[in-house]
Symmetry: C2
Subunit: 148 residues, 2 copies
DNA sequence: CAGTATATGTCAGAATGCTGACATGGAGCA
DNA sequence: TGCTCCATGTCAGCATTCTGACATATACTG
């Protein structure tokens, strides 16, 4: 009976390693986003809007992995800065389709470049092929039902 | 020039995929830990103490990826429940070496088994070999300097 | 020895995120 | 049509975590 039932050595735990990488990524992203007065969730919101204009608050929340209440507050703060814009009335149902303003797109572009550099640097120890394989393996276990 | 400078399609971003897996893991862990009145950071604290008795508050914080202020509060709450114990005075310097009580060990055992099951289930779509490779690839880019 | 640098524990305040709750708009069904 | 169910936006309260600050203990250095 080799298979342990407890977590065992943390360094051998896939969950812990994922957490390590996630923490490293988040710290590095926070650092480069600070000059733009963005946090990771704020950046995520902009990036999602950039790729999928018209997303509602609830949809943004799901894809950014926060509750819709948190996203609501976050979105309002960004709106005060004039980065995204929402109509006053819902064109249908209650969902308010959100889009980036010119300023929002400009800010997103800067942020996206910075984040891309961080990712590239963080995963640079891995070869192109390893990175591809890593993404495949990770995606393999993500519920693809979350796809937009 | 194929190499984009911005993040590009999120689904193709390693960072986003890591975040997806991390979120899924965290949600699943929170769920199974709730009956034990534990959160992920609280569990992490106990697991670290189980594997490395005598860690100080600051060391726990670093390995659990929170600030030492947060860990301090968290640790005190756990102490009120009698799970870990710290001496009143530091045997050397200011660091207070923390250890699990009997209750703490018992709680940790239950939690660890539950978390192990979650990890196992979450990564079950991947073969044993793929999991091994995944861990290797991820660990390859974690600063091993964080090792205990 | 005195002065400096580093690490630790801790306090205080602000920001962030979550849970619970409620009202509203649409879809499905009797 | 009327009823139920679900998704959305939003308000309120609570918990958690962070940043900034300060005191203390040790190590290092001139």
């Amino acid at each position: 009976m080799e298979q342990a039932e407890t977590v065992g050595d943390l360094e051998l735990s896939l969950g812990y390693v994922v957490k390590q990488v996630h923490a490293a990524l988040r710290t590095a992203m926070d650092e480069v986003l600070r000059p733009l007065e963005l946090t990771v969730p704020r950046y995520a919101c902009l990036e999602l809007l950039g790729q999928h204009p018209g997303l509602s608050n609830s949809e943004l929340a799901r894809h950014a992995f926060v509750t819709r209440q948190s996203m609501n507050l976050l979105l309002r703060r960004l709106q005060e800065r004039g980065l995204p814009a929402r109509p006053d009335q819902a064109p249908r149902g209650r969902a308010l389709p959100t889009e980036l303003t010119e300023d929002g797109q400009a800010t997103l572009r800067k942020a996206s470049i910075a984040v891309r550099a961080v990712e590239k640097q963080l995963f640079s120890p891995l070869s192109e092929e390893q990175q591809h394989r890593l993404r495949e393996d990770l995606a393999a276990r993500v519920d693809s039902s979350i796809a937009i």
